[in-house]
């Protein structure tokens, strides 16, 4: 905008009051240009680093995905034969063993992510709303809620893996020995139950983040709104639907997206919980890619799968932002 108005205004001045005003305007324009340039110049080092740290590796990853990069070539990468789209073909051939397993893993990951994000959000919102108004012990309660988020991933998840062991774990001790809910001790870390176990650990780890964001978001909701609503006779439910949730919309928009991306890409939780080989019902895609490439020394195939994953997440993110911000404008 500014670039258009300034020259136009400058030209008008020149017409009316001759050359000196024109020279004056020219100098002003140069000064304005320089002033406009300064922020960009200051941003340049950061931009260059950003490109170096993020974009260049990504492009290298894309290039790797076109190569047959195995242990024979990792020492001299340039000698790896060009595979073209061969790695991609193997990855998306859903009738083949590799593609079929990737698709299965993709489905598991999608279901896992939707459930985990949904539950984390629900728990986070509930806890944030319930602790919105001051009461005795609120600070302590909030701190307690945030503990899982503050614990190091490895320590927290390895503890869960002990809890979930069949013979010696506390989960089975409580469920079977104390509550007698099941006759036979169920397995949690292998077989079909492992999906539920992974989901529980994941929700346990990520809901405090939702809680934290939403608590911060609630600080920005003016108290008068609730007072006014109360005067109008709105109960808790009406206030929640009419004030709290709409006011939290911008926070939720970012929160859900971030949680989705984190959960979809989560590597640490399943790796620490299940080790190198996750059970089939909990075979998350990040572990799957790690296992079918890094562990088996086929880096080209792994890169191709990673690029596909990246594309999928880009599409999801783009579509999500498009849909949510359009609704926000309306």
């Amino acid at each position: 905008m500014a670039t258009l108005t300034t020259p136009a205004g400058g030209a008008a001045t020149t017409d009316r009051s001759g050359r000196s005003a024109g020279r004056h305007a020219g100098r002003r324009r140069a000064r304005l240009d320089r002033r406009r340039l300064v922020p960009y110049l200051m941003l340049l080092p950061a931009l260059a680093l950003e490109l170096l740290v993020h974009l260049v590796p990504m492009l290298y990853g894309c290039w790797m995905s076109l190569l047959r990069l195995t242990q024979f070539y990792i020492r001299n990468w340039s000698a790896a034969p060009f595979a073209g789209l061969g790695n991609y073909r193997a990855s998306i051939d859903v009738n083949g063993a590799i593609g079929g397993d990737l698709l299965h893993s993709f489905g598991v990951t999608l279901a896992f992510t939707v459930l985990s994000v949904g539950l984390s959000w629900l728990l986070g919102t509930t806890a944030a709303v319930l602790t919105q108004h001051p009461f005795r012990g609120r600070g302590a309660l909030r701190t307690l809620f945030l503990t899982p988020y503050a614990l190091p991933v490895y320590a927290a998840v390895i503890t869960w893996s002990f809890l979930l062991q069949r013979d010696t774990g506390m989960v089975n001790h409580v469920l079977v020995d104390q509550l007698h809910l099941a006759g036979d001790r169920p397995f949690w870390l292998i077989g079909g139950n492992s999906f539920g176990a992974l989901l529980a650990v994941s929700v346990w780890r990520s809901w405090p983040f939702a809680f934290l964001c939403l608590t911060a978001g609630l600080q920005n909701v003016p108290g008068e709104l609730y007072e006014a609503a109360a005067v109008d006779g709105a109960g808790f439910g009406r206030q929640l639907r009419g004030i709290t949730l709409p006011m939290l919309r911008p926070v939720n928009q970012v929160l859900v997206l971030v949680l989705f991306l984190w959960t979809f890409n989560d590597f640490n939780t399943p790796y620490v919980l299940f080790g190198k080989a996750a059970p089939r019902s909990a075979d998350l895609i990040s572990i799957h890619i790690y296992q079918s490439s890094f562990v088996t020394w086929n880096f080209g195939l792994g890169s191709a799968m990673s690029v596909l994953l990246l594309l999928f997440l880009l599409v999801v993110t783009g579509a999500y932002l498009l849909v949510t911000s359009r609704r926000g404008d309306a």
Partner: protein, 436 residues
């Protein structure tokens, strides 16, 4: 996450390619006093710190003898392969390093390790000093070894003497049928005949190899092509899974064991038998006295199935390799010679409870115990190296995972039939992608 990891890998490589080319030429240069070597040691003791305490005095001894200093870094098993791969891509790494001997062929294929050709081998005392079985696991057949054996290990049958006596069993089983019969006698009241590490992918794969050998099957053809689902392989894998599925002498909970819980079960008497390698240090740490257990050779299938081989263990162990890009080649070889010398072999292997890889060390009384005799005989006569093909790591991952899933099925009571096992192994086989 993964994209970024791969990408970082690539960048590291791109940035260092010129350096690799530049320093590729000046090998074999300096040696003698004033040189400092970097040595990456694998975790053999009870902790990384324990390893440092054990190795440091020996390294100091080397420094006193030669004037060469050694910069020691002990690296845990979960990190070691990643570190070696990163060093391989960047060309910047240690001078001397430990590798798991099953990685030998794969790492050999990268060209990152210095090949031990005739001259190099004679510089460290010649290859005849080493046990033939141990030396077989140092690279692909027909190629110069990529490493030399440092510590050797073999599988043995650990059995609880007290529980055996209580059940009236006079001596450890020699065949699988005897093992099952003994196991049934030993299984009662929360005590089990045998324990397996069913959730541990590598352990499973090691047993798959041994059992398949006894049924006459190889997981790779002589041309190096994967064949995971041959009749012999199915029979071998099924024999192992059946200890839990059909014979019911293994606690179903063992299907999820992946962090050495089987050692804890054996030490506490919850299980009477265990197939393991060099378990002594850990059993001691769990409070089991060495007098309470014995070690016998791993049983065989009897009568021997058609084509079956006299193999009851893999050649397990740690190899010592020289990084190809080292600038101190002579010093590195001097260090290899020192570590594989008779004295160090005796000292280190008796501390770690592993087996020396050089013949002369066995003359020492410390290696004359009945237990060591079992392992020595196994290594000399009935141990075979895992397939030395670049796809070996895929075999361990894929077959080991298939067996983990089979154990999970067996634990939940699903019938384990030949066809079912074959289906799992066929699926694993289809996942193999040729290494280029």
């Amino acid at each position: 996450m993964t994209t970024r990891r791969f990408a970082l890998f690539a960048v590291a490589l791109a940035l260092t390619t010129p350096t690799v080319a530049a320093c590729g030429d000046d090998q074999g240069g300096s040696s003698g006093s004033g040189t400092t070597l970097t040595y990456w040691a694998s975790n053999q003791g009870t902790s990384l710190d324990n390893d440092r305490q054990i190795l440091r005095p020996e390294l100091d001894k080397f420094t006193r003898q030669t004037g060469i200093k050694v910069n020691l870094e002990v690296i845990g098993w979960p990190d070691l392969l990643n570190r070696i791969l990163a060093a391989t891509t960047s060309g910047k790494g240690p001078d001397v390093l430990n590798i798991g001997n099953t990685w030998s062929a794969s790492l050999q294929a990268t060209g990152a390790l210095l090949p031990f050709d005739g001259t190099t081998m004679s510089a460290i005392g010649g290859k005849d000093r080493f046990l033939a079985g141990s030396l077989a696991a140092t690279g692909a057949p027909g190629k110069d070894p990529a490493a030399v054996p440092l510590y050797s290990l073999a599988y043995g049958l650990y059995y609880n003497k007290k529980l055996f006596a209580a059940a009236g069993i006079a001596e450890p089983p020699k065949t699988w049928d005897e093992l099952v019969a003994d196991g049934r006698k030993l299984t009662h009241d929360g005590q089990w005949g045998l324990v397996v590490e069913g959730g541990n992918v590598s352990e499973n794969a090691h047993h798959a190899f041994t059992f398949a050998q006894q049924y006459g099957a190889d997981f790779f053809t002589s041309g190096g092509k994967a064949q995971f689902d041959s009749a012999g392989a199915v029979a071998g894998v099924k024999r192992y899974i059946d200890f839990m599925a059909t014979d019911k002498i293994v606690n179903p909970s063992a299907a999820e064991y992946a962090n050495n819980q089987s050692l804890a079960d054996f030490a506490s008497g919850k299980a009477a038998m265990l197939l393991w390698q060099a378990a002594d240090t850990t059993l001691k740490a769990h409070g089991m006295s060495p007098d309470d257990y014995g070690v016998a050779p791993v049983p065989f299938e009897a009568p021997t199935p058609p084509g079956g081989r006299h193999v009851d263990s893999m050649v397990a162990g740690i190899n010592l390799a020289v990084f190809g890009n080292t600038k101190h080649r002579d010093a590195a070889l001097a260090f290899v010679k020192f570590m594989t010398g008779d004295d160090e072999q005796k000292a280190l292997n008796s501390t770690y409870g592993s087996m020396p890889t050089v013949k002369a060390a066995y003359a020492d009384p410390a290696f004359q115990t009945p237990q060591i005799k079992v392992f020595q005989d196994t290594l000399a006569g009935s141990a075979a190296p895992l397939p030395a093909v670049p796809e070996e790591s895929q075999f361990e991952t894929l077959v080991g995972t298939a067996m983990k899933n089979l154990f999970a099925d067996a634990a939940s009571g699903k019938p384990i039939t030949d066809d079912y096992v074959k289906g799992k192994l066929t699926a694993a086989n289809q996942q193999v992608h040729a290494g280029g």
